[in-house]
């Protein structure tokens, strides 16, 4: 059973309230090359037991309790479902078709108040295709368009049922790099001033005395922050809602870390952080996790001059909690490919990659932890949600795909628009009837 969480509840309270889905089956998967997702190495001849939608056991076959429908993995890789962060899954059917695209809203008078949870389409083909790629849960968000504030992202599942949102308003996202600067009026100082003005307004709304109260921040016809937006920032400034800050340049990262001195209750997460490796020790010392660009290695912008594929690996070595950022990929289903590439980097002198288990964790348990679902998603430990994937090969190897997916203990149909096209065009025979009758 999924439920919306109000901002007033802690993430922990929300997830402990999750109970067994009605359709969840008790299932025992045996004979697995088992990956727990916790950063460890695979376990041969492993068993996973899911009861009432949750994992009750995952480990060597010898310790498994009996019972449940048995599925023999026949030595195949078995993992927790991947946790994709940061995505726009469910917010667009075709991004270039504006009518179908809820990722941006440049014409809206609102920014921080925008709430992704109000428009997730659980039957979006992108959700169904990514489920077939082994992604079972995701953090999904709008992109900043009218202001530095993207709005409030949601944690979703990909099971395609009518209730995709498992935590609404899980985080606010802002951009304080070149993108934020452009939207705030043309400079980074403008973006920082807007952020501070907005947070002070939110503090006033939260009852902090002695602060001025404005009604609206606007420039010309553009509303950069309305009263409604300021209200939406109250949980940010009080630390009840995470603040994801998208920045790339070393100097910008330092400026974000410094925000904690002014606003000690901010629960910061860095997104992108292309030059994070240059300031890795400071990030580690601040205890701020990073949703890092994985393979970005080109100076695509001036704020990414230090881009390197070793960024994530060097951050991790410095002790930073690192998840791989899906938002700069062609599609989030490339997360496995990026993680595999990080493993490959370990064999390049001078580069920093990740060991296999850590690389897998960077697309499973770590993004789940950063998203407030630590111990619940991206990991196969007792008490975790029953998100389990059986693969047809090494899950970090390109070309590997799931053969079975369970979400919350429910076996998933992996059919989608792509598989239907695949089946229709598996031959080009139209001798009896046109292809339109082949379905």
């Amino acid at each position: 059973m999924k439920r919306f969480a109000s901002c007033g509840l802690s993430a922990l309270a929300v997830f402990t309230a999750i109970t067994a889905p009605a359709m969840a089956q008790d299932v025992t998967i045996t004979n697995a090359r088992l990956v727990l997702g916790d950063g460890g190495a695979p376990i041969d001849n492993g068993t996973v037991v899911v009861r009432g939608g949750s994992v009750v056991y995952a480990g060597p076959a010898s310790g498994a309790p009996a019972g449940g429908t048995a599925v023999d993995a026949k030595g195949a890789w078995v993992t927790p479902g991947l946790f994709a962060t940061l995505t726009t899954l469910g917010l667009a059917d075709v991004s270039a078709v504006g009518e179908s695209n809820d990722i941006t809203a440049g014409g809206a008078p609102f920014s921080a108040a925008l709430d992704a949870a109000t428009s997730i389409n659980p039957t979006s083909q992108h959700i169904l295709v990514h489920k077939a790629a082994g992604i079972t849960r995701a953090a999904t968000t709008m992109r900043p368009s009218g202001s530095i504030f993207a709005g409030q992202g949601a944690i979703i599942d990909l099971d395609g049922d009518p209730r995709p949102v498992i935590q609404a308003r899980a985080f606010q996202m802002i951009n304080l790099g070149e993108g934020g600067a452009a939207r705030a009026g043309g400079s980074r100082p403008a973006a920082h001033a807007l952020l501070r003005a907005a947070l002070r307004e939110a503090q006033a709304l939260a009852g902090k005395p002695g602060l001025p109260e404005t009604t609206e921040i606007a420039k010309g016809d553009d509303v950069l922050l309305s009263r409604f937006d300021a209200e939406a920032l109250v949980p940010v400034v009080t630390g009840r809602q995470k603040l994801y800050v998208e920045v790339d340049r070393m100097a910008d990262i330092r400026a974000v870390l410094a925000l904690k001195q002014e606003y000690p209750r901010l629960d910061l997460v860095l997104v992108g952080a292309t030059e994070g490796w240059l300031v890795a020790r400071d990030i580690a010392a601040a205890g701020v996790p990073v949703i890092a660009n994985g393979l970005t290695d080109l100076p695509e912008t001036f704020e990414q001059l230090g881009a390197t594929q070793s960024n994530a690996g060097r951050l991790a070595r410095a002790g930073v909690k690192v998840a791989i950022n899906a938002s700069t990929m062609q599609d989030p289903r490339r997360l496995q490919q990026v993680a595999g590439n990080l493993v490959a980097l370990n064999r390049v002198p001078g580069a920093a990659g990740m060991e296999w288990g850590k690389a897998f964790a960077a697309i499973s348990s770590v993004p789940a932890e950063i998203s407030g679902m630590g111990g619940k998603a991206g990991v196969l430990t007792p008490g975790a949600l029953g998100d389990v994937v059986i693969w047809d090969g090494d899950p970090l190897e390109v070309g590997s795909v799931p053969t079975r997916v369970w979400i919350g203990g429910i076996s998933q149909d992996l059919t989608n628009h792509q598989t239907r096209l695949r089946d229709r065009y598996n031959d080009l025979d139209e001798s009896a009837r046109p292809k339109a009758y082949d379905w």
């Binding site: 075709v94 100076p299 912008t301 390197t308 490919q337 490959a344 047809d392 390109v398 792509q418």
Partner: protein, 454 residues
């Protein structure tokens, strides 16, 4: 005799001088056949080199275990099994546990024309000021200092690539094929002997760009109409001996004569069929459809017309005409006997064309379409070279071809493998084991991360 001859020459010179003074000289621009913007690329010094003991994919569908590749004088001298003779006193690399392929070739790149950093001042890929601009040449936009070239070399083993103009226009202009060597000028990278291509685009892009400006074309039928009228003008031009020179029409006539290859951005199956009919009407041939997301729906038609499909492994659903993208595209085409090329169109994906080929191969295998590793490598080597008209020079490991060679530290189709060494015309241009054997562009000097493995 000598004095007499000199006297005649002197008189002739005088007469010529008088004539010159009487009438101004006729000014004549060089014709393209006389070599304009010629390649100044020369192979870098190389030493006779052999790789012994590696698994070799020859690029044309062959695989040799424990093989030998021997290159000398910038050319492939021999390729064979463990008994292949190699001279004494040459550089020999132990390839045990490693793999050798031809240099990877990307048929669709915008490196240099849309370089990093991708700021407006660098946006030189689309001359989006008229629906047809066959007069522009992509090579005149190439910035050789684009850091993307070095990344494609180091991470992707890319030794040759075709730079295309963008797809805003129905006829975007000429492509240029480059060797992936650092150079101060475009000419220093220009692939000697490579034919030009003409970039064309059908579908959403031209009609969007020009329709939004209230001018033709604003529809798909408008796309075809403008194309046909432009081709008819080019045919008239070709038949008119007195016509004033026209750079754009020279390109189109080059296509009609078969000297310039058509590379047509086209996603949808139905549109590809229309373009092939238009080509028949006008008397040209399409070399390759690029971004051919729906090619799998007409593999038979593409085979019958001898047209290659240059495709991504997994891009789909980002625009309307990509909505029917499927992972099995390449495999279905291969099964139909149609020509498959995996392309990038992307400064990041060009670094991992080998991985894209694997994705496409594996998608087929799941349906029982068993495409060998050697064939998957052909998609990013010889097939690309064929579609670009350079397959007699590179694209496979065959005697006499350019020694464009990649030594991989593992299976080149695995995510876990990387190029260890890359030779271009027999010269070692990248070595993952030697930090100084890694090109650093002018732009990156003194910047954060200069010389990092990136």
């Amino acid at each position: 005799m000598v004095a007499s001859a000199s006297g005649i020459n002197a008189r002739e010179k005088d007469r010529k001088k008088d004539k010159d003074e009487a009438a101004p000289p006729t000014l004549v621009a060089k014709k393209e056949s006389e070599g304009v913007f010629p390649s100044t690329y020369r192979p870098y010094p190389n030493i006779a080199t052999a790789i012994r003991g590696a698994t070799i994919y020859d690029g044309k569908g062959g695989k040799i275990e424990n093989g030998v590749v021997f290159m000398s004088g910038g050319k492939i001298v021999s390729v064979g099994g463990p008994d292949t003779a190699i001279p004494a006193d040459i550089a020999v690399f132990d390839g045990a546990g490693k793999f050798v392929t031809p240099g990877i070739i990307d048929i669709h790149s915008h490196l240099g024309d849309y370089p990093s950093p991708g700021v407006d001042a660098h946006s030189d890929g689309n001359e989006a000021t008229s629906p047809t601009t066959p007069e522009v040449w992509a090579e005149h936009s190439v910035w050789p200092q684009d850091p993307g070239f070095a990344r494609a070399l180091a991470n992707g083993g890319v030794t040759a690539l075709q730079i295309l103009p963008g797809s805003a226009n129905l006829m975007g202009g000429r492509s240029v094929t480059l060797k992936n060597v650092p150079a101060r000028t475009m000419q220093g990278m220009k692939f000697p002997g490579a034919p030009y291509g003409l970039k064309m685009a059908c579908g959403e892009n031209p009609k969007r760009v020009y329709g939004s400006r209230g001018r033709m074309p604003s529809t798909r039928m408008g796309n075809i109409a403008v194309n046909r009228e432009t081709w008819l003008d080019a045919i008239d031009y070709a038949n008119n001996k007195d016509a004033k020179r026209d750079i754009g029409k020279e390109t189109l006539v080059g296509v009609l004569k078969g000297e310039i290859l058509v590379h047509n951005h086209c996603y949808r199956a139905d549109e590809m069929a229309l373009v092939m009919d238009m080509a028949k009407e006008m008397g040209y041939r399409v070399s390759t459809f690029h971004h051919a997301v729906e090619a799998y729906k007409i593999g038979d038609l593409l085979r019958e017309n001898g047209v290659c499909s240059a495709i991504w492994a997994d891009w789909y659903g980002f625009k309307m005409e990509s909505y029917d993208g499927i992972l099995e595209n390449a495999a279905f085409l291969q099964r139909e006997g149609a020509c498959v090329v995996i392309h990038s169109d992307d400064a990041n994906d060009i670094q991992r064309l080998n991985q894209e080929a694997r994705k496409a191969q594996k998608a087929g295998l799941r349906l029982g379409i068993d495409i060998s590793d050697a064939t998957a490598i052909q998609w990013i080597t010889l097939n690309a070279a064929k579609a670009m008209g350079i397959d007699h020079l590179t694209g496979s490991l065959e005697q006499g071809k350019m020694a464009d060679v990649v030594l991989w530290n593992g299976d080149p189709l695995s995510v876990y493998s990387r190029p260890e060494k890359v030779w271009i015309d027999g010269a070692l241009m990248f070595d993952a084991l030697d930090p100084k054997m890694r090109p650093v562009s002018d732009f990156e000097l003194g910047q954060p991360g200069e010389g990092d493995v990136k």
